[in-house]
């Protein structure tokens, strides 16, 4: 960008967005511009440090799924699944396939619920020019009804499998406490089929949105599985050639502390910032989407890879289709498992678990003692992993938008953050822009 010397270029502009609307939790944005160049871009996450890793120390291995579910009210299933997988890995236990199918179904419910909420109430208002989902609902009631119905269906799947919808109580290391009633599962099929159609309508709806130009050149990291679109299983992989076991994750991913945010910031040790979440999952696994979801992606012109974070709404919509398809597949072939859980005996070992939360890869590692007590725990949530990329995107967005009026610049920053669906709880408009001129 050509720079013209002059008074306006010498000034310092500080852009502070003290509360981010329509993201999970409490955070803010701080950008400092000096002499026409962005010199700092920070995503500040204010949620108090929750110290869950310390809280887990000394607790029994069987408690980890229920304790870590409390980290987030939106994606508790992801925490339970990563915790279970890590504990089962530590104890050398393999869960029966029919139980794994039920866990996948539970996870489908969480994806549908979380994505529907983000697409319809948090993200879509940005594209259609509304302050929030309620204002949008006045002009687009049918769309919002469709979104709420999808969210409700997702909630019901979680409730049916998890015992309740927020912080489910039916998940245990080794399987479930109780199996769902077969007739309750059978009754779900017809409704999931209708939800699948609503999800296809969602893809068409969001694919027509006008989207700002943007292109991420960062490394994309997601689980990859030989024949499944990742959700419950897979190996951490990336567009830069990473392909590792979950147990090798910390050998490649490091976390640092910054003094302005309560969340740790992850990076690939060898290369730096990277992104997890829908764009990464799609880039690494598009061909493993269900045929109907893949066709929806083609119709939406997503291509083999999508690197525009603002189009993540389209990928989320495609993933809702896939989650419905996956739920239908599981329901159609359901045979009640012989037992709700396998018995798990603790042993002195390390265990690793990676699954795909709606907003990205969620890593758990536990160090167990002989008696099953947790000696150490490590949890790396997706928003910690995405924080640096969000900051880089903020920096680039402000740099190319400096000529915009203040309100538009703030709005552009908020849009950037929302497009990543950060979860500050695990990452609203009280805007203040300060411009200091010497």
């Amino acid at each position: 960008m050509a720079e013209r010397p002059g008074r306006s270029d010498r000034r310092t502009r500080t852009i502070r967005i003290d509360g981010l609307a329509r993201v999970e939790g409490h955070g803010s944005v701080y950008v400092r511009v000096e002499g026409g160049r962005v010199v700092e871009a920070q995503l500040r996450l204010f949620e108090p440090p929750r110290l869950f890793e310390a809280l887990l120390r000394g607790r029994d291995f069987s408690e980890a799924p229920d304790i870590t579910a409390r980290i987030c009210g939106i994606c508790p299933v992801a925490y339970q699944m990563s915790a279970c997988r890590a504990m089962e890995d530590a104890c050398g236990v393999s869960v029966d396939e029919p139980v794994r199918e039920l866990r996948r179904l539970l996870y489908c419910g969480e994806w549908i619920e979380s994505h529907a909420l983000h697409i319809y109430l948090l993200h879509a208002p940005d594209f259609l020019g509304y302050e929030d989902g309620i204002a949008m609902a006045r002009q687009h009631p049918d769309a919002v009804r469709r979104g709420l119905d999808l969210k409700k269906l997702g909630n019901e799947i979680v409730t049916l499998l998890g015992g309740r919808e927020i912080h489910p109580v039916n998940v245990r290391v080794g399987g479930f406490f109780h199996l769902p009633a077969p007739d309750a599962l059978a009754a779900l099929g017809e409704r999931v089929l209708r939800a699948r159609d609503a999800a296809l309508d969602t893809v068409r709806w969001v694919a027509a949105f006008e989207v700002p130009d943007a292109e991420l050149d960062c490394e994309l990291v997601a689980l990859r599985h030989p024949d499944r679109y990742p959700m419950y299983e897979g190996r951490p992989a990336s567009t830069a050639g990473l392909d590792i076991e979950p147990s090798e994750f910390e050998a490649h991913v490091t976390e640092d502390q910054a003094d302005y945010t309560h969340a740790l910031q992850a990076r690939i040790a060898e290369r730096g910032a990277y992104l997890t979440g829908p764009l990464a999952r799609y880039a690494l696994n598009a061909e493993r989407l269900s045929p109907v979801a893949l066709e929806a992606a083609r119709e939406a012109r997503l291509g083999p890879e999508c690197r525009n974070p603002h189009r993540s709404i389209v990928v989320r919509a495609v993933e809702v289709v896939h989650a419905c398809e996956e739920a239908l597949r599981i329901l159609a072939s359901y045979e009640p498992p012989a037992r709700p859980a396998v018995s798990v005996e603790p042993r002195e070992a390390m265990g690793y678990g990676c699954t795909e939360a709606p907003r990205g890869l969620l890593y758990h590692r536990y160090d167990l003692g002989k008696d099953g007590a947790i000696r150490a725990a490590r949890i790396i949530p997706p928003t910690s992993q995405n924080q640096r990329v969000i900051e880089e995107d903020l920096r680039a967005t402000v740099q190319r938008s400096l000529a915009l009026p203040r309100a538009e610049l703030e709005h552009a920053c908020e849009r950037v953050v929302r497009s990543y669906d950060p979860c500050i709880s695990c990452a609203t408009h009280f805007l203040r822009l300060e411009i200091d001129e010497p």
Binding site: R22, L117, P141, V144, L153, I166, A195, S425, T428
Partner: protein, 162 residues
């Protein structure tokens, strides 16, 4: 994905079971459930406020019981018309985990998913610290809210004068 419309009144409790007095609405509907006629639906929706839109649409009367923080004495029961009164405790923007009650009313208005009449019984909380168990004044407030809800349900069900 839509179910049958309620033909009679519905009473819903909101709140969190793990935040002391925030569970007041949940406790109220627990006490209320065995006391109302069978065709009055009673539900607890901890953290699932958007489901109100499905439950109350078309009902002649919906009573929502929830804890509030307004500065009044703990246990005070605020009685509000959901369509007329300004609702207390409304954040200026929706939380993303779910919407607050005022937002749900607005959303219901936009989507045509409202009951004919909406009564909100707000029980003033003393503490919303982590943990189970209501504080003593709030327990008394819960009992008062239950009596009010029962009287409202009975009035709504009695034949209206010709």
């Amino acid at each position: 994905m839509h179910e049958s419309r309620p033909r009679d009144a519905i009473v819903v409790g909101l709140g969190s079971p793990d935040r002391r007095d925030d569970a007041a609405g949940l406790e109220a509907v627990r006490l209320l459930a065995p006391l109302v006629p069978p065709d009055v639906r009673v539900a607890a929706l901890p953290g699932r406020e958007t489901e109100l839109l499905d439950l109350w649409t078309g009902a002649p009367l919906a009573i929502v019981i929830d804890a509030v923080l307004s500065g009044a004495a703990p246990g005070t029961v605020h009685r509000l018309d959901g369509f007329i009164d300004a609702l207390p405790g409304s954040p200026p923007h929706p939380s993303s985990h779910d919407l607050g009650l005022p937002d749900i009313v607005e959303l219901g208005r936009a989507l045509g998913r409202l009951p004919a009449r909406l009564l909100i019984l707000g029980i003033e909380a003393g503490t919303v610290a982590h943990g189970p168990g209501l504080s003593p004044p709030v327990r008394i407030g819960v009992e008062r809210a239950v009596r009010i809800a029962l009287a409202e349900v009975a009035t709504a069900r009695s034949p209206s004068p010709a």
